[in-house]
Structures are given as structure tokens and as C-alpha cells.
Symmetry: C2
Subunit: 413 residues, 2 copies
């Protein structure tokens, strides 16, 4: 390892993260920086300014993806890329997404400080609308770039106020002239917080996911009969909320029933007419099932659907199920995962081979390029909330792993 003593500037990385955290800062200590909002624009402007300050060529594609490129000696070789996202959840945290973007910037700053020339060019990317909460679906920028989502369909997606993605992208000045499509990539790394409690619990500093679990999203609609609560005897009621409550507990019990490391969650529920003294007649709730084992996930869902029908029948309700979205598990590149594991060990950081329970832009990237991720611990496992936190020294450690992994790839012929 030619540059094995090279390290990032942890203090500078912290300061960059702190400055970014001011854009969309919430009273509760988090960040509210929704995709294509005014805050997203401000943070993008700052990122672009920082890229230009270290002399990088910045390009912006017609999905608003931002790329800062540090040329290599053989610039025609496939490049080494890292990236993540600037946007956050509503009242989200200070690390989710932005750590990977600032981590990549810090790698490039470190290479510049040390006047290191690489064979391959190195690129840091910000992917547009990773979170997908303002505009569904998530990972829109990387999805289009990798050819897996249709750009014009994404342009037409609307937020809750009816504003279109394409128009908002133009409004904030980030609809670039370059066609969104993949360049040849030698290796893609995404540096991210774990967003779960495993690394902290196991006293690890680095996580090396071997891939992303498969996911399925479903929407369930239960219908019963509305009536005044007082004069309607319990017998003969068709209470849609009671049926939904049983279904929610069925979903919660699925992982234990099916075995494996499955998780299953109902995060969202809408009850109608939602009045204290009227028996609910319509409930809509969501189901999110995740597992590395796609077959097990499929069996679980079939089991759940049968249970839903039985519960609805027993309670005199009807149930309609929409299978909204589904993606199989996505394994990362074995060679790159091993590189993350080995690099962390060489740097003296306790490292755990694991799986990512959350979706990331790395999922789409893995379909067009050798891909791996680098995780650092989330304090208390908290994420997508204002108190989301990661120790500054862990942020630095993760960036050092990113630096070394990218550098190793970038000097390989």
C-alpha cells in the first residue's frame, strides 16, 4: 500500500458537515432539506463552490446529479467514483446522505493537499432525491442515471402541493445540459451511516455490507361499515380499524414466524372518517417487508395476504391489496467488499461484514458498476430523526477507509 499512512483531515470534515447542517437546521437539532427545495439548492450551491475551490471540474446532468471530477493520469480509463445525497427526510438528521458527499469531498481535498496523482480519475457525486419523501420514488437521480427509471416519468412526479419534479429541478437551477447516463466506472463506493443499532451494539467502527436486502412495499385498503358508535351493538359491527389492527399485528409477527433476518413494518395508517363517535369504515395502511432471502420474503407476503383475507372475512370487512413496489436483494461486488473489510482492518478499525437494511443509491449503482459501501455507527441506532448522530471520530474513520479504498482502486491499472 503505497500511501498507507495517508489520512483525511477529520477536523475539516467535521466543519464541512457542521456548515451543511446549518442549511435547513431544525429547532430539534436535525435538518429539514427536502429534495429540490430552497434548502437543497443552497446546500448544492455550497457543495459546488467547495468543489470549484479545489479546482475540480463540476458537471450537472439533466437529473440534477452533480459530479466533481479530479482527473487521473489516464483519464480515459474507467473512473473511481463515490457518492451519496444532500437531501434529507422531513425533520431528518445531520448525517444521512451528506456524510457520504462530504466524505468524498474530504478524500479529494486530502489528495490535493498531498499532491497525489492517480492513474484513474476520481469522481464525487451528489445524487438527486435519494429520500423520495417529497417526490416518490426514492433514489430517482441514481435510478435515471443507471437507466433503471424513466427520466420523463420522474419529471412528471408531483409533490403534495402538486408541484412537478421537472419544474422544481429547473426552478432551483439544477437541470443541467448533460444527459443523465452512466460513465464507465471501475469502482463505486458509498460511505453512509448505518442507520441501525448493530455496529454500536457489537462495538464496531466500520461496517462492510455485502449488499442491500430485498424490499417489498404494499398498500392495504380495508373497508367496513360506518355507524354511530352508541346505538350500534358490538355484534354485527364491521369495524375497519379493528380489522386493520389485527393485520398490523400479523405483519409485526411475520419475521419471527418466518425466521431469518426479516423485518416487517406498518409505518403509515389513514383512518376514515376518523371521528371519535363513528365506527371506522375505511382504513389504508402500508406494509414494508425486507429480507436478504427473496424467497422467504415472498412466502411471508403470501402468508400475510391469506391472513388479511381471513381477518377481513371474520370481521365482515373487505380488503384490497396493492403491491406497490418490489426489488430483490442486491449483492455488492465481492472484491470491493473484501477491500473495505481488509482496509478497515489495516487501519486498525474493528469491522463487521453485514447487510444494508435500507435502500441506497449504491443499489442502482451496483447494477452498472462494481459497488461497495462503508458504514459507520449510528448512536442508539437512530436515523431519519432529528437526534440522528454519529461520533466525529467515527466520521473520520469512515472517511479514511473511503480514502484508502478509492486510492487503491485509482492507482490500479
Amino acid at each position: 500500500m503505497e500511501y498507507q499512512n495517508l489520512r483525511v483531515n477529520g477536523r475539516r470534515l467535521q466543519e464541512s458537515l457542521e456548515e451543511m447542517a446549518r442549511i435547513g437546521a431544525t429547532e430539534g437539532g436535525g435538518v429539514h432539506r427536502l429534495a429540490l427545495s430552497e434548502e437543497d439548492k443552497q446546500a448544492r450551491d455550497l457543495f459546488v463552490k467547495w468543489l470549484q475551490e479545489i479546482g475540480l471540474k463540476v458537471t450537472i446532468d439533466d437529473m440534477g446529479n452533480i459530479f466533481g471530477r479530479r482527473p487521473g493520469k489516464k483519464d480515459d480509463l474507467p473512473s473511481v467514483m463515490c457518492g451519496s445525497h444532500i437531501d434529507t427526510q422531513p425533520k431528518g438528521g445531520r448525517f444521512d446522505g451528506i456524510l457520504g458527499v462530504m466524505g468524498g469531498l474530504e478524500v479529494l481535498r486530502t489528495l490535493n493537499d498531498n499532491e497525489i496523482e492517480t492513474l484513474r480519475s476520481i469522481v464525487v457525486a451528489n445524487w438527486t432525491n435519494e429520500e423520495g419523501t417529497r417526490f416518490s420514488p426514492p433514489m430517482a437521480g441514481s435510478g435515471v442515471w443507471t437507466g433503471k427509471l424513466d427520466k420523463h416519468w420522474i419529471y412528471d412526479r408531483t409533490d403534495m402541493q402538486g408541484k412537478k419534479f421537472g419544474e422544481e429541478l429547473e426552478r432551483i437551477g439544477y437541470k443541467g445540459n448533460i444527459l443523465s447516463k452512466p460513465d464507465p466506472i471501475y469502482a463505486y463506493f458509498e460511505y453512509h451511516i448505518e442507520q441501525g443499532p448493530v455496529l454500536e451494539k457489537e462495538n464496531m467502527i466500520i461496517g462492510a455490507p455485502e449488499g442491500i436486502v430485498g424490499m417489498r412495499w404494499c398498500d392495504v385498503y380495508v373497508s367496513g361499515t360506518a355507524n354511530q358508535v352508541g346505538p350500534t351493538p358490538m355484534e354485527g359491527r364491521n369495524d375497519a380499524l379493528c380489522a386493520a389492527a389485527e393485520m398490523i399485528l400479523t405483519i409485526n409477527a411475520l419475521p419471527q414466524k418466518m425466521g431469518g433476518n426479516m423485518v416487517a413494518t406498518v409505518g403509515e395508517i389513514h383512518n376514515f372518517p376518523n371521528s371519535r363517535n363513528i365506527i371506522p369504515d375505511h382504513v389504508h395502511f402500508t406494509v414494508d417487508i425486507r429480507s436478504w432471502d427473496d424467497d422467504r420474503s415472498q412466502s411471508a407476503w403470501i402468508d400475510a395476504k391469506e391472513n388479511f383475507q381471513a381477518i377481513a372475512n371474520r370481521r365482515g370487512c373487505s380488503v384490497r391489496i396493492e403491491e406497490t413496489w418490489q426489488v430483490d436483494h442486491m449483492p455488492f461486488d465481492q472484491r470491493l467488499v473484501t477491500r473495505v473489510l481488509d482496509t478497515a482492518q489495516q487501519l486498525g478499525y474493528p469491522v463487521l461484514k453485514m447487510r444494508s437494511g435500507a435502500g441506497h443509491d449504491a443499489g442502482y449503482l451496483s447494477m452498472v458498476a462494481p459497488t461497495a459501501m462503508i458504514f459507520v455507527p449510528s448512536i442508539g441506532g437512530r436515523s431519519h430523526v432529528e437526534v440522528e448522530n454519529t461520533k466525529w471520530e467515527d466520521c473520520e474513520s469512515g472517511a479514511n477507509v473511503l480514502l484508502q479504498c478509492m486510492l487503491q482502486c485509482a492507482i490500479e491499472a
Copy 2:
């Protein structure tokens, strides 16, 4: 029975109900006429116009309660009163409330047509904001009139848009100059749809409730821990929605567990952050428990609270309970209930002694005057919904019972 062959004009009653149903008519065939809205004002104006057309003295008190008075020969004797309400639930039905007001009007029209003089004066009342869905609490007009609710507290109650009750009352021109307080009442009758399935199921035309069941309203707040669903293992989750789902099923099972004719319902639920891929950390839901047996209701609630605590503990959540409102069962006047039963039988209508599962202005009235109610069947037991319906001939039968009961009282010394 001096006037035992006297009958109301069923056709005229139907036409009045149909004309009222046009004010706030919904596409689904119901009525949306919230308290102190423009529609409430229009329907009040029409009611006042009809009262004046038959020469009645109309008074409006400072709660917006409307009284049409037909003087008796001895006008200083306590009067015979009937009443109900013009306001409806959001997207409510064409009969709830308005049937009792139009029924009372029809009684007075019939007495006029037949030039019948009574000893006591007869009064028909419209009570303001019975429903309580725009402005909580329900039965505000009769509550203040009977001295059980504070007028200035009611004036300050706000709707979802922050508009004050008192200001809205003034805006629609129904804040009268007369102080809202009870006159001496010899007998109060409230004619209403059953809002439940019992009369229809038992093939009855008239219901004579012996009183109103006791009710308690509670608000339950469950708190857990929000986290990204994917990376958070099932073990160690504190899912507030799963805890709430268990609690909802506990409430649903209470009546069978406790016995008696109790009903227990969760009608309203709010889930936070209510995002598909975040474990819910806050749930607020309502509980409504009703029973004729106040002790049983009390025991049920103690049992439920213990269960809530156990569920919360088991799921690593906390629970906070607000006991929002409670009222014991309210028995009506035995003599008047018997009068309703006897009168229905004399008129040849199958009649059932029963209990009211819903609250009514009659509840407050029973605290200051001998009170009874007259129920007619709800088709399919449906109420508080657009398809709420009652046969026209049943509307006529109920009005005949009201006519005979009021007349008997009004000619008594």
C-alpha cells in the same frame, strides 16, 4: 283521550324534511350542515320563517337556541316542550336531529289546523350545536340552557380553522338577546331516529328509551422510538403503532369480557410521523365506552388502563391517558316513558322499551325537567352517514306519538 283521533299530516312532514335536506345536500344523498355554518344559518332562517308563518312567537337566546311558542290558555303554567337540532355530522344524514325539529313543527301545525286550544303552552326548540364535531363539546346549546355548561367557555371554543364559537354565532346572526336559561317545563319530549339496528331487527315502529347510557371518552397517547425501518431489527423496536393496535383490540374485546350491553369503540387514530419507512413513535387514539351500568363501565375502564400499561411495558413504549369526558347514565321520567309506551300502543304501533346508546339534548333536559324520547327505526341501523334513512310512514308514526304525548300533557292541569 279527548283528541285521540287527531293525526299529523305525514305528507307535509315529508315535504318539510325534504326541503330541509336540500340545505347542505351532499352528492352522496346526505346532508353536510355543520353547527354555525352558512348551511346552519339557512336552515335556521327557514325554520324561523315556518314558525312565524303559523303565527308563533319566536325567541332566540344568546346561545342561538330557537324557541317557537304556541301559547296555552294558562300561559303561566309550566309549558310542554319538544326539540332537537338542525346541525348535522360532516357528511351526515337527512334525519338525525332535523326529524325532531320538523316533527315538533308538524305537531304545532296540526294543532293550528284543528284549532285546538291547550291549557299549557307548547314550545318547539332547536338546540345549537348538538353534534359537537365542528365545536367540541356536543350538546352545547342545551348544556348551557340547563346550566350544565359555562356559556363563556363555549363562546371561546374554536373549530379546526381557529374560528370561535361566539364569533360564528354572531356572524350567522343567531346570538339572541335573551339569556340562555331554563323556563319551567312540565314535560320535554325529543323525537329522534334510533341510529341503531334494534327496532328494525325486532320489527318495531316506536322505541321508548328509558334513558341514555353512561359514556366515557378518553384520549390515549402512546410513545415509542422512531427509526428507519430497514436497518432496525425487530428485536428492541419500540413501535408505538403496534402497541396501539394491541390496545385497540383490547378495547374491542372489553364488552364481551365485561358482559352487559356495553359498547366500546376506537373511532379516531393519529399516527406519527406516519411515513412508510419510519417506525411510528407517537400514536394518539380515542376511546368511547358506553353502558347503562356505570359501575361496569368504570370496571371496564380500569381493566383497559391496566392492559394498556402492560402492553406499553411489553413493547418498550410509554402510555399517557387523558380522561376527557364522563357522564353517568341518565334515566328519563318513568311517567313520561310510560306515556310514550301507552300512546304508541293506543295508536297501534309496535313499541319497544329500550335505551339510547347515543347522547341527546334530552340528556341535559332530563336534569331540569321530566323528559322522554320517541325513537323510530333507522334503516339498516345506519346513522351519521349519508345513506342514513327512515321510512316516511315511520316518520309520520313517530310524529303522531309526539303529537298525542304533547297534547295529553298540554291539556293536563
